[in-house]
């Protein structure tokens, strides 16, 4: 291996290309299955990355090899075979387009099915969409408006090429390469993702949004998102996911890093409705995500998530409250139905003085699903006057599902004030009876009650998302009424 040079690689790639054919009608080149150093180098090469990036990936890969898959989460699943996944797949219609007309019509058709009309989005309340289809971004709108303000919003591979100084400075600072098994894997093989930089004192005029989806059979998706809000800036970022039906399990191990410098604010909202598997619990997406934000002085990071999809979810958007007076927030709705399993929650690490955090988590479990909240609130000895409020409510439908709460509270400072409360309940028969009386059928009544139950979180979502999320809740709980 030591003698393996880039030239050798170049040759190898040339011979390998297209050898494995196409999967779908959209031309896309996909790597052969399996993972080794060559594949990592090849991904990096493919994306025309500078050398430091290749090194960084290789370093991550070496860490990953040493690591063992974690088992502590309250989920059970068939472990993915990491050698049976293809680590790179990109829509092949290159080069990038200047206008939508040039985009592969079939791709546009898929988006339409998903209800994301780019044309409409363009006109709609100022949402710039960076669409990620099988890892490579193919359309970016409103880029110009953003550019005027000095905001950088592009794919991460573009950022690596165009703004290496920013990427180099911040990539891996919040989620280090060796943070955990999936983060290390992601660092080694991430295919693409979004990059966002808001300059000093700029308030981003529109909601930034990315749509992710998985299209290629057997392709793991490894997104990497990096959002940097410079001093005094503000940004609201939306992330939405949909995935078409697939029978085999798909792995998704994304890493999201948020950096809020002094006085900055980041609002990160997610709606996730990936394929949860069918009613027998067959198929569905594995969602093992590492999301973390770092708050400097007076900064604020707010996570809002609506999790309705995926067969297995393993996700803990966290805040490191490093700077004094910084604020972390976490609002979450997790719905599980049929055989879905979710182990989700947050970590609030209080390091600075007068730091505050709020956790509101709503879990709804139906069918034979398992829904767990797992959270950590840690107050370090130096975090004077830290304040935390946590509330975890669970709603159970039927006696085949489970709702679990595992909060960890660690306090090493006497001035800390922490409150945690959790409740578990079911939808009252009297509530349903009341609705029935007024001509609302049981299914609708449940939707109504669930909406009320999740309102605190839904309210935190930006308008467009809130509507979508509400619909999602209804769809996910369809047929859960016995």
């Amino acid at each position: 291996m030591s003698k393996y040079t880039e030239d050798d690689l170049q040759k190898e790639l040339e011979t390998k290309e297209y050898k494995y054919g196409f999967y779908t009608d959209i031309k896309s080149d996909t790597f052969p299955v399996g993972l080794n150093e060559e594949v990592v180098i090849a991904i990096s090469k493919k994306k025309e990355e500078p050398e430091w990036m290749t090194k960084w990936r290789l370093e991550s890969f070496r860490y990953w090899k040493e690591m063992i898959e974690p088992e502590w989460a309250n989920v059970h699943y068939q472990k993915p075979d990491f050698q049976a996944i293809s680590y790179y797949s990109a829509p092949n219609s290159k080069p990038k387009y200047d206008s939508l007309d040039e985009v592969d019509p079939e791709l546009l058709e898929t988006f339409k099915k998903l209800g994301i009309s780019i044309d409409e989005q363009k006109k709609l309340a100022g949402v710039a969409v960076d669409i990620v289809m099988d890892s490579v971004s193919v359309a970016t709108t409103f880029k110009k408006t953003l550019a005027e303000k000095g905001i950088i919003f592009c794919s991460i591979s573009e950022a690596i090429k165009e703004h290496p100084e920013l990427v180099k400075k911040y990539l891996g600072t919040v989620v280090p390469q060796r943070d955990n098994f999936y983060a290390a894997l992601n660092s080694a093989v991430f295919s693409d993702g979004s990059f966002c930089y808001i300059p000093k004192g700029v308030r981003c005029p529109m909601e930034l949004s990315t749509y992710f989806r998985i299209n290629q059979a057997g392709t793991g998706q490894f997104e990497r998102t990096l959002v940097i809000a410079d001093e005094g800036s503000y940004v609201s970022y939306l992330e939405g996911c949909t995935a078409p039906s697939r029978d085999e399990n798909q792995l998704h191990a994304a890493v999201v890093e948020l950096i809020a410098l002094d006085n900055a604010e980041i609002k990160y909202s997610t709606v996730q409705n990936w394929y949860p598997g069918n009613k027998e619990g067959k198929g569905g997406v594995y969602n093992f995500v590492t999301k973390r934000g770092l708050c400097e002085k007076n900064a604020k990071i707010s996570w809002t998530q609506v999790e309705t999809g995926s067969a297995v979810t393993w996700k803990y958007p966290s805040c490191i409250l490093k700077g004094d007076n910084s604020i972390g927030e976490f609002y979450s709705i997790a719905v599980t139905n049929n055989f879905q399993q979710a182990d989700t929650g947050t970590k609030m690490i209080h390091l600075g003085k007068n730091t505050r955090s709020t956790i509101i988590s709503k879990g709804i479990s139906a069918g034979q699903s398992q829904n767990s909240y797992r959270g950590l609130v840690q107050i370090s000895p130096r975090a004077e006057n830290a304040r935390n409020f946590s509330q975890c409510d669970s709603l159970l439908m039927g006696n085949k599902c489970g709702a679990h709460t595992f909060p960890y509270i660690e306090t090493k400072n006497k001035t800390a004030k922490i409150e945690h409360e959790a409740t578990t309940s079911k939808i009252g028969e009297d509530q349903i009876f009341y609705c029935n009386q007024r001509g609302i059928d049981t299914e609708k009544a449940i939707a109504l009650i669930v909406n009320g139950f999740s309102k605190e979180v839904l309210n935190k979502l930006p308008m467009e998302f809130a509507v979508e999320a509400q619909k999602l809740l209804e769809i996910s709980l369809e047929g859960s009424v016995g």
Binding site: W72, I379, P381, S394, L396, M397, G398, N399, K400, C401, G402, A403, H404, T405, F406, P407, Y408, I409, E410, T411, K412, N413, K414, T415, A416, K417, I418, E419, H420, E421, A422, T423, T424, S425, K426
Partner: protein
Amino acid sequence: MSLKDKLVSSYLAFEDYIDADSHIHEIRNKAIKTFENSGFPSKKDEAWKYTSLNAIIKEDYCIFPKKENTVEFKEVKKYFLHEIDTYKIVFIDGVYNSFLSETTHDKVDVCLMSSALSKPKYKAVVENYFNKAAKEDSLTSLNTAFAKEGAYIFIPKHREVEKPIEIINFATGNEAALLLQPRNLIVAEENAHVQIIERHQSLTENAVFTNSVTEIFAEKNSSIDYYKVQNDNQSASLIDNTFISQKDGSNVSVHTFSFGGKLIRNNLNFYQKGERVNSTLKGITIIEDKQHVDHSTLVNHIEPNCESHQDYKGIFAGNSTGVFNGRIIVEKEAQKTDAFQQNNNILIDDKATINSKPQLEIFADDVKCSHGCTIGQLDEEAMFYLQTRGVRKKEAQALLMFAFASNVLESVKIHELKARITKLIAKKIGVNLGFNL
């Protein structure tokens, strides 16, 4: 030689001088194997994440004290609830002391584990209950392997024990470091009622490590009140494993008062194996210096229509560490469960630490489960109010602390014990209170 190896090898010697033919022997053999395989728990075990035994198990403990020790009653009178008449089961360095004890066989059995294990007339009860509720974790197994002495209390149907029973374990410190493993068995048959106070007390500064196991069986409609007073020297460590199995309509409450000791770990496990069961778990922890108290509770709701209430208050000063690890499991048959768990903590000093982990695992839908956990300080406004009225700061603090702990104290049913604990709290906080609670 590590303590684990020492224990495993001394089991062979232990086998020689106990009755190896008894049916208990098989249980012992199995238990020592479990311990041998798993060893002492380490911080890598999720249940022991916040409590390390390393400092405790590195001592060279004497496992079988060589001679029988005695103490004068007047030296230890203060550890008894001497204001009222009680039954007493007293052990000195793990050996039963008949002089200090007051046992009975009159209608109820308040006597010794050693006789229960060896005498034929107890055989049926022992076969029915011994080691039937205990979990097979490593420390419980260690105790089971060496189980030979402790309290044996059997209350037959429709009996009420007319006075409280005190179980006291003294350590004289004649050995430099002593390992004690008392094993208690308490059975309350249908409609029986009993009140028990348990205490571990070492009389010198020599190291004592107690790994105690208590099994409690509450049959139909029985009622048991159990009080644990943990106010030992700061050279003594205690691991208290208590397993409670409850049948229909029974009512069991356990109060734990942790003020003393170097390291205390309370593994309190409730198994609700009948309907309409009521379980109460309450505790007050007030510690300082480098003390470490870990409450690890489990309430397993197995049958429908049951209730459980947990209320743990903690006040932590100095370098002390408090851990609360509460687990409620509601099985899918356990509909209409009402489970409540509360853990409130106050940190007094900068270096004190609290780790709290209240967990709910729920598999049934028609239940009412909630838990709450708070960490905070004494209310500044309340402090100010008291001070403006001429109450000194220290007293004001004490008043507020009493108020904070009062709803746990209130439910203590033995008046004299309540008064005793109030005094202990006052002493611990360092004030002389001119009022009675």
